[in-house]
């Protein structure tokens, strides 16, 4: 908690190298400049600007219809922006067809050519470039070894398992050493267990080859695990861009807060706005909310305070240091025991339902808190975020 609080100022030199977006001198490798895409009257991508840096693992995260796939397809050249421009390594991509872009894509369906062997699939892209046969063979072998498919090179796609097909698709897209690799739901077709394992594998491969990855996904967990940065998309626009921690701990809108993980949202009104904190009065919460961020809202303005369920402490006794702030009372209505944690749904006296997750630290069958118990809920000053929209 406290560590996360120490914002950019105290980053070390090494961290800055890994986080080029914090360095104003760095030039973006991929620049999406005010791009809009319309299908007839429907705006799929709405005035999006993005800078992606060399070597990043960048995720476009959003629900169905958020425009993330359309944006990816514009990077690949399968769709043309209605307005705006895309630059890759400084070159304007307008009018450049997919087969001339320094970009390769891994398709959600993998799109392996069913009539070609694994080898043939991986070699396909190199053949288009007219490379000498010996070099093609070398690079294909090297790439198949990287994805651990060396012994399957003569197989046809339908003779492979789902995980193997995924790796062929990856190898085929990587072998041309593109400036940018686009991945459309790369893990979407795998089952849960394989997906978790592959997440790390994908990150390892990316680090090994050093190619910039742009991934489209609807799975927030996947995006959080793999990405250097995430762009959360909603209805065609970008709601927030940031590192996984920034997105989770400092959502800038109610949409982002609610989209990533679960969150309790208290409506209220600013009563104090100081350089080191804000104080929000909330009838819903049943107490004053003290948020230790620089206040940027004028007193009296309406706002919301977002508090994550795991940041709330649930107890039968009031916290010792509470002074009528960040502490409220309610009745336990639902309890879900998940083994490692338990989820409590608590109805506050205002009628507002609040979700709390608490780790089950000790081993016992009898729970200390049970249905219809009166409980105190409290949280630290750093736990909440003030949101306006």
């Amino acid at each position: 908690m406290a560590l996360v609080q120490q914002q950019p100022q105290s980053r070390t030199q090494a961290q800055q190298k890994l986080e080029p977006w914090r360095d104003p001198k760095q030039k973006p490798y991929v620049r999406v400049d005010k791009v809009t895409k319309k299908f007839d009257d429907f705006v799929a991508v709405d005035d999006v600007s993005l800078s992606i840096y060399r070597g990043e693992f960048f995720s476009l995260l959003g629900g169905s219809g958020s425009g993330k796939t359309t944006l990816l397809r514009m990077l690949a050249g399968f769709e043309t922006p209605t307005e705006g421009k895309i630059f890759i390594d400084g070159v304007d991509m307008s009018g450049v067809p997919p087969y001339r872009r320094p970009v390769n894509m891994m398709f959600q369906s993998y799109a392996l050519f069913p009539h070609m062997t694994v080898e043939g699939n991986v070699a396909f892209g190199l053949k288009q470039d007219g490379l000498p046969k010996a070099e093609i063979a070398d690079r294909v072998r090297e790439m198949l070894d990287l994805v651990q498919l060396g012994q399957f090179s003569k197989r046809k796609p339908h003779q492979l398992s789902g995980g193997q097909r995924q790796r062929v698709a990856l190898a085929r897209a990587l072998v041309k050493r593109p400036k940018l690799l686009l991945l459309d739901e790369p893990l979407g077709a795998l089952d849960k267990k394989l997906r978790e394992q592959t997440q790390f594998e994908l990150v390892n491969i990316q680090e090994k080859v050093g190619i910039t990855f742009v991934v489209v996904t609807h799975d927030q967990e996947e995006a959080m695990t793999m990405s250097s940065r995430i762009a959360v998309m909603n209805k065609g626009y970008i709601a927030q861009v940031g590192t996984p921690t920034e997105i989770y701990e400092y959502p800038n809108t109610r949409f982002v807060a609610e989209f990533i993980g679960s969150v309790n949202m208290f409506a209220g009104r600013v009563v104090e706005s100081e350089p080191d904190h804000s104080l929000i009065r909330s009838e819903e919460a049943g107490c004053d909310l003290y948020v230790a961020h620089p206040g940027h809202l004028a007193p009296g303005s309406p706002c919301w305070v977002a508090v994550r369920p795991e940041k709330i402490v649930i107890s039968k006794d009031p916290a010792a240091d509470a002074v009528g702030r960040n502490q409220t009372q309610g009745t336990v209505r639902e309890i879900a025991y998940l083994g490692d944690v338990s989820i409590y749904d608590v109805d506050l006296d205002s009628g507002k339902r609040v979700r709390v997750t608490a780790p089950n630290l000790t081993r016992r069958t009898e729970m200390p808190i049970t249905w219809e118990d009166r409980v105190y809920l409290s949280w630290r000053p750093f736990a909440g975020s003030v949101l306006t929209e």
Partner: protein, 339 residues
Amino acid sequence: MGLVEKAADIAEHGTDGARTGAAPVAASRPPAGLGFLGRFRPGRGLVLAVPYFWLLFFFLVPFVIVLKIALSETTIAIPPYTPMFEWDPDTLQLSIDIKFGSFSYLFTDNLYILAYLNSLWIAFISTILCLLIGYPVAYAIAKAEPSWRAPLLMLVILPFWTSFLIRVYAWIGLLGNGGLVTETVNTVLMGLGLIAEPLQILYTPTAAYIGITYSYLPFMILPLYATLEKMDNTLLEAASDLGCPPWRAFLTITLPLSLPGILAGSLLVFIPATGEFVIPELLGGPDTLMIGKVLWAEFFNNRDWPVASAVAIALLLFLVVPIMLFQQVQGQQQGGGKG
């Protein structure tokens, strides 16, 4: 809301379309694959132009010519009709000669009107017969175990690969006097005392019904099977679970859901059957008046090209609505029906 969701779905087709099956998305938004990239490609023009102009030239233009000739008169010449445009080099005048004689002729003789109505009626009855015979067959195949479906379907399609003409010919033997079907029917009916004289079947409209039903049956079964096979079996289980007896489940669930197949199959039978020539000619005898036969006779026997053209135009007018309906069904199904 619904529209927006649909549009959103379309825009996201890469992610979500693939999971829910790509076909409906491809149907609603064709620009995929080679399509939208056509503009980078000089070959696109060729692929577009060749079939387009072929059809314009060999399919659409001929209809205009048919109309033009329908508006002329027959003469003894080669070709046997009066020219519509005449250029007089002396006076430098172009005279346009349009004659409605052929069309008004269609109304002067009852024969034509009767033939049109009779054709529509025979096609209609045959369509109903195809539906009655074809529905249980299609339903039985759709309900059969998966390993049985392909061979059974093959059995339905198989006759289509043998000659249509020969299959019609087969009925001449079966329906003629002394033929197996006629003999059986007559023996049964006379045995029951329903008729005193043996029935004549060949060279009556009944034979035409049988012939058309027989020849067009696969075209009814295939689209029916396509819709019935796609139907979710759990719907019937749910109905039965909710206390619905099988026959009512069929009437309230299966039948309404198979309507697209019924429509497609019926149009595939009805439209060509209306203009059918071979079957009424070979099986129907002189009493079976159908417009295809009339057109044939006008053209080949009377050598009256203008009247034959007028007959064709009129037949086309009768079929415009069903053909447009068919194209709509075809567009929706992306052509699963025939073949």
